[in-house]
Amino acid sequence: MKLVKNAAGRLVPTEVNGQQQIPFQGINKYKPSGNKAKPPIRSCIDYPKDGNKVVKDLKTALKKAGLKDGMTISTHHHLRNGDAVTNMLFDVVKEMGVKNIHWFPSASFPVHSHLIKYLEDGTIHHIEGSMNGPLGKFTSEGKMKGVGVLRSHGGRYQSIQDGEVHIDIAVIAAPTSDPFGNATGDRGKSACGLIGFALGDSEYANRVIVVTDNLVHFPCVPWQIQGNNVDYVVEVESLGDPTKIVSGTTEVTKSPDRLLIAEYVAQFLDEAGIMKNGFSFQAGAGGTALAFAIFLKERMKKKNVKARFIRGGSTKYLVQMLEDGLTDYILDGQTFDLEGVRSMRENDGHVNTSPFTSYNFHGKGNFASMVDAAILGATEVDINFNANVVTHSDGYLLHGIGGWQNCLYSKCTILAIPSFRDRIPVIVDEVTTLCGPGELIDVIATERGLCINPKRKDLLKAMKNSSIPILDIKDLKKQVDEICGGAPAKPKVNKEKVVAIIKWVDGTVLDSVFQVVK
């Protein structure tokens, strides 16, 4: 495998899984041209006139869709750790004796460790999507046949539009669908809120299969997936475990240190002048982000400030802000708890979005760059403000990128992170894996204080008299090293073997993940 140094100074392969790759060229330096990819033409005369596309089972649907070796199958992750459909799907693929599938999920969860046996026996060749938990470990140890490809949610949409990934069969788990294939996620016994991450799949795949455990009479209204894009509908007993379909990260942190970080971020937005009438912010799930929303809400109430919109990850805390009149809209990318699901059904101001609207590199603009402040997490940040979200400091892949890279385009990107976790420094000399270039990251908020990117002279000036400690990131790193007992050693990796690549939002290769040597 030939490796070259890209514009971020990282070694990346020029070919992955038989496809030529373009090394990262810098932020907004690479601009593809030409036309978007397109799905094959279909004719309505080939589909049932009565609109009933229900077939007996998933196996029948896959057979009709023409499943064969080496195809790309996509799934989505809205069912999270409760997803049974993807596991069921690959059980059938295995049963059919099909090999070398390229699995293209919008994200994976620990529940998908079920698929390790299919990675081992050659049913699945490689994963293009997130490689969470056990799948990350499997990949990091160099056991996957092909090379993993990690993309942001927006990057996934871009890769479909570019034709970089062509989906042969999209399997869409839908909590409610009609026989025509109109589908939604905000109702039904497996309600998960949005299913927007499957939108691109439904529009561009050769064949689209909707799997549901709540088949309703036509029409399913409102629908998020259009039946006109759907080939087959399969009814199953259950899409999965409803108790795990909503995220497990919807509890506000109890950690005093995380609360302090959240409070600093809210104070920062206030003191830096970002929190003003008509402003917008993005905050996801996770204990610190939820606590931040609570602290910010108090400040907004006190100063009588109203946001125009909040980008979510919706949670009950954002829903409360909407219902208390503190924002006009929630522009929702994914739904993290049942209150979010309810609100989506009931509140006109709670709006469905998808990677097409929010994150799309090939869109004529997108929402992410219009957001005044995005509050995100990271596993590591280095002294040049570069950040990592996919591997831990031991080199193992553990998380996906999600919408993280896309959100970096906000007007003020804040990484809210502890300075170290147990004895694992989060502020380091150089990130193990580069996922976000430092030039897009404005503020690091830790329990020890804030580090403001020197290029943001405006923010440095605004925070000059703040009671929050404002630190040079190098000094913070020094503090962390003193506490942890010196700078951490780099993980031992095999530089000859790339196990996965990190794509930037424009489709270029930002970094490589190398095989971890035990």
């Binding site: 005093p256 147990d422 694992i424 420094p425 329990e447 003193e482 506490i483 942890c484 007992g485």
Partner: protein
Amino acid sequence: MRGRNTNSSAGKRGDSVRSDCYFEIELKNSGGVKLEIKSKVESMYGESIKEMILDMSKFFGLKDAIILCEDYGALPFVMAARFELAVKRLFPQTKKEYLLPIIEQNLYSTKKDQLRRSRLYLPGNEPKFFVNAGLHSPDGIILDLEDSVAPTEKDAAQLLVRNALRSVDFYNAERMVRINQLPKGLDDLKYIIPHNVNVILVPKCESAEQIHQLEKEVEKLKKQHKVKNPIYFMPIIESALGVIKSYEIATASKNNCALAIGLEDYTADIGTQRTNEGRESIFARQMLVNAAKAAGIQAIDTVFSDTSDMEGLRQSVLEAKSLGFEGKGCIHPRQIQVVHEAFAPTTEEIEKAKKIVLAFEEAEKKGLGVVSLGSKMIDPPVVKRAQRTINLAMMNNQISRDWRKQ
């Protein structure tokens, strides 16, 4: 050296353990030192962990042993304490101490009249809470060797607290240790006096004699270890007898900086239940305030145990303030800010105090023996209280040091 046992263990193990570690040492007759390390931070600190364990083994003279270390991200000061304990459980007679350097940030001392609005209790055997405690800006941090430590882990807490005093940055908070009830608490002193402790909290104090005993032992150790910084005492009154003797206790040593009350034990002692209204302890609290003030030291209130009720805490502090208390115990960092805000003087109090202090200074300048404000005469205790309010407002950043010019 060789004790009676050939096996020992120390520390914590299990899936839920964080920032701590577990050691097992098995002495052998030959074979040298064999290490087995299972560490969460192997790839980052594996080498330095190994070096540290070998260095400690050498220091304590372990020549032939099998050492198991299960590490859940313990910081070096924790690892050193756990290893030393495992060794000391094998060789109880050893006097050797594996001491890490004292960090420069902690070489500060405090004053007798230091601001002591909040003091944050940390269980002495739970190191994960230590490192960031100072970031929440309490006036004091208490490393507790008493009630929050299980009887079987007292030896563990002594070493951990000693190492924390040397290695953990307290971010200028007063460095306090609550020792065990005397006479057992006297044994704790050798683990804290040489390591730059600022205040010793003396639980369940019931007589002046106990303070005398403490003072004698502290002086001995200070001399022995050439400790120059002052070390203050904060007796905690937690019984009916203690309340009755509170003035005697308050005046027992020039090193007493405050008297604190502990209401959990006190209410148990008088056979009643603690309530939010606090009617059952009103006598004790007033007695304690009176005794402390008569002795010229601070009166410090008990902890507020419901960590989710911030409004209840605020009311409790306001009530304590109205009784004459100057500080409150905290058991969660989120309580600190609420306590500070509630103890802060109100705008009206500050404005009134400013007028009184200015009138006093004017009277002094003119050589007048009497201070008056408008048609009212101002008594010296009122002036003193006003000066205290101004000081507190300055410490709370409510007014600047040069407020007279503004």
